[in-house]
Amino acid sequence: MTRHNRPPAGAIVAFVIVATAAITASADAQSADPTDAGKAVFKRANCVGCHKWHGNGGGGYGGDALSLRKTELTREQIIETIGCGRPGTGMPFFTRGAYDSVKCYDMSREDVGGRIPPEANTFLRPSDVEAVADYVIAHIKGEREPSYSECVKFFGDTSRVCDIYKAQQQPTVSQTTNSGQSK
């Protein structure tokens, strides 16, 4: 009886595998971020080229890409800025037909004249523009200084690109200790 009640070893293994898979799948489902598609656009459309992965942009060779962390633009304004670029700056327009068939800031190509922004290397569909705007709002706008966990979330853990944020977190502790001692 006992023997019959005990499930065969193979069945236990199978159960464990299925159970593990189910748990993993549910964990994935929990961690799946609805703005992942927007993050992919952020990379593919080369937003990182000027705004950097962390969105802080900054001066330097790249000109003056504004900080998306400090931006006060609303979702609608971000969408318009991506689609139409910023006249008179290096921020390109990502919508096909901007200033022609698509109205931008109530200006036609003639109105904007020489201040027309550069055309992006990649045109984005309206759904892509919305997705990247949602990603910026969810993960960049309003955030403070970039952190190790944010960096790893962006790049994964195969590159050493995030190491400095890890290093920055550790010395902060020892610096506090040191300054405490010196006082």
């Binding site: 001066g59 060779y61 000109g63 400095i164």
Partner: protein
């Protein structure tokens, strides 16, 4: 059963046997004649068919006396073969890589790199190119590409013993077995966590590899380092910004420790004078680039020519071109070592064509200024050089912050301004060439002006791996180029061949020809005396690398890498709108008669 099992070779044994057989076959062609010894490197000019050094020889002449291709027949030059390479993928802030390298050729075997530092060995025998191996160093794209100010670049390899010595953008020095392409060893020399990357080719002196670093736009403190190739250990590392207590530290007069992030990169391969065992190396701009009030003082040894003892790295002399630089006028260029007849015997000169638009000759024994002249058509930042000292005439050693021609100079009171040459130069990294028979020195010129917007910097803005430039450039004015010849005996311009686009590739000199290229695709040959164009071929890709020449099977070839990368198509393209059409690419072209 047992016996049978024993006789049957296991999979492991079979694999090992195959590996051993392949290793034996691969090892066979390695002849002692192909060992690159320090003696061969010293006498590189005695191997006319080879191109053993990045700049052809220790004097950085990029002159070959091969003359099968000459001004009489160059019109018949045609493509012999081509080869597609890789490395165009992006990483960090870059959408794609490019090719800036100079091929190295030894006994018919060519070694080239792509922007991410993969090394390709190509057999050039038989009028064709055969790829023998590719060593991919698996460069960490995002780690390095995010702090490469000016593109995904690698300028080539060097040879030592039976090894190919190369750098990667993520800061490694790699030794690869020449025969089989296997990495023999590697060493981390630069640290991208500090904003340091490597784009230059190594210089091999004796048994050392000399490495320069890039990163002055990211707040590094520059250096030159020597690695003993036998022990793989560092022999010396000399910082280009003197530390506390060292001579020159007093030229950083602020109270913010600006010297610690003062720049002074060394990303172009230097030259070597064996007679005095002296390395002569160009030093880059101070940081932050455009806010010079942040760093009052002359800011040694930025924007300088620096002479170092090759064995110890000890500084012998320096000559500074643009003290307290507010323009981003690197003096990082190669120095061409030439001897010309003078009233009291031969004058031993080091020639440098600077980003600031002036060509300089200094005495390479003492570092004293000999002559200087503008090689660009338009200079607005200074009225000229002092005839005695070679310093800009407005330079005042008692002023902590230099303003030069103040009306055009970026400063905290002149926050947006245009000046010429623009911050790319003048002359950038693309190398010059020198014809010792004609005593003509050929400069690949960027004829430019551009606009700088200054950002006032504060210590809180200094962050690892973030730009530390104090502003940024824009391009309101079209930029063109030229090949400009200087008569080294007189220090005067001998000719100028103007081009519609800037020269982003550099120059090769042969007895009666000069070869160069354009980012719009053309490779061309000019008459060495008149600079008249004698031949041109459109490669269909942006030329961003220097031509070189070699011979194999008794026949002369001209080779050039083609694939526009670097800084131009990201930061400077508005000055050359037609170049927006140029597609990323990665291709080797080889020409012959």
């Amino acid at each position: 059963m047992t016996n049978f099992t024993r006789r049957k070779p296991s999979l492991r044994t079979a694999m090992l046997a195959t590996v051993a057989a392949v290793a034996t076959i691969c090892a066979l062609p390695a002849k002692a004649a192909d060992e690159v010894t320090p003696e061969r490197l010293l006498n590189a000019d005695k191997e006319p068919g080879n191109w053993l050094h990045h700049h052809k020889d220790f004097s950085a002449t990029r002159f070959s006396n091969l003359s099968e291709i000459n001004k009489g027949n160059v019109k018949n030059l045609k493509v012999a073969w081509t080869m597609h390479l890789g490395g165009v993928e992006g990483g960090g802030i870059w959408t794609h890589g490019g090719l800036e390298g100079t091929p190295i050729v030894e006994n018919g075997m060519m070694y080239v790199t792509d922007g991410w530092g993969s090394v390709y060995k190509i057999d050039t025998h038989g009028g064709k190119g055969t790829l023998l191996w590719k060593m991919d160093p698996k460069t960490d794209h995002d780690w390095a590409g995010a702090v490469a100010c000016c593109g995904v670049d690698n300028r080539g390899v060097a040879l030592w013993g039976n090894l190919v010595i190369s750098h990667t953008l993520d800061g490694r020095l790699i030794a690869t077995n020449k025969d089989n392409g296997q990495v023999a060893w590697q060493r981390q020399v630069a640290d991208p966590n500090k904003g340091e990357v490597i784009t230059g080719a190594p210089l091999i002196v004796k048994n050392m590899a000399i490495t320069g670093v890039a990163g002055a736009e990211y707040g590094i403190r520059g250096w030159i380092a020597a690695t003993d190739l036998a022990s793989q250990k560092e022999v010396w590392r000399t910082h280009t910004i003197p530390g506390k207590g060292e001579s020159g530290h007093e030229t950083w007069k602020d109270d913010k420790n600006s010297a610690a992030s003062g720049g002074g990169s060394t990303w172009v391969t230097g030259s070597y004078d064996p007679a005095t065992n002296t390395l002569i190396w160009g030093i880059g701009n101070p940081g932050p680039d455009w806010d010079n009030e942040y760093r009052p003082g002359d800011n040694l040894y930025t924007d300088s020519s620096l002479a170092l003892d090759a064995d110890t790295g000890k500084i012998k002399w320096h000559y500074q071109h643009t003290p307290n630089d507010p323009y981003d006028y690197d003096s990082v260029a190669e120095h061409v070592l030439v001897d010309i007849p003078g009233p009291n015997g031969p004058r031993k000169l080091a020639l440098e064509a600077d980003r600031n638009g002036f060509a300089y000759a200094v005495d390479r024994t003492t570092g004293k200024f000999v002559w200087g002249l503008p090689f660009v058509k338009k200079v607005t930042w200074t009225k000229g050089l002092d005839a005695e000292t070679g310093k800009p005439v407005e330079y005042d050693p008692n002023k902590p912050v230099q303003t030069y021609v103040a009306a055009v100079t970026p400063s905290r009171t002149n926050l947006e301004t245009d000046f010429c040459p623009g911050n790319m130069g003048g002359k950038n990294w693309p190398p010059t060439a020198y014809n010792p028979d004609l005593k003509l020195w050929y400069i690949p010129v960027i004829e430019s002006c551009n606009r700088i917007k200054v950002e006032v910097m504060t210590p809180e803005k200094l962050k690892p791996r973030e730009f530390w430039t104090g502003g940024g450039p824009s391009q309101p004015v079209r930029i063109t180029g030229s090949v400009t010849a200087i008569d080294v005996t007189t220090g005067k311009v001998a000719g100028k061949f103007e081009t519609p686009f800037p020269n982003l590739g550099g120059v090769l000199a042969t007895p009666d020809l000069v070869f160069s290229g354009q980012p719009s695709g053309e490779v061309m040959a000019l008459d060495a005396k008149s600079l008249e164009k004698l031949w041109e071929f459109n490669t269909g890709g942006g030329v961003n690398a220097p031509p070189m020449t070699f011979s194999v099977d008794g026949k002369q070839y001209v080779a050039i890498l083609v694939g526009l990368g670097g800084a131009w198509d990201k930061w400077f393209i508005d000055a050359t709108p037609e170049l927006k059409r140029m597609q990323p690419g990665s291709m080797l072209y080889v020409f012959s008669l």
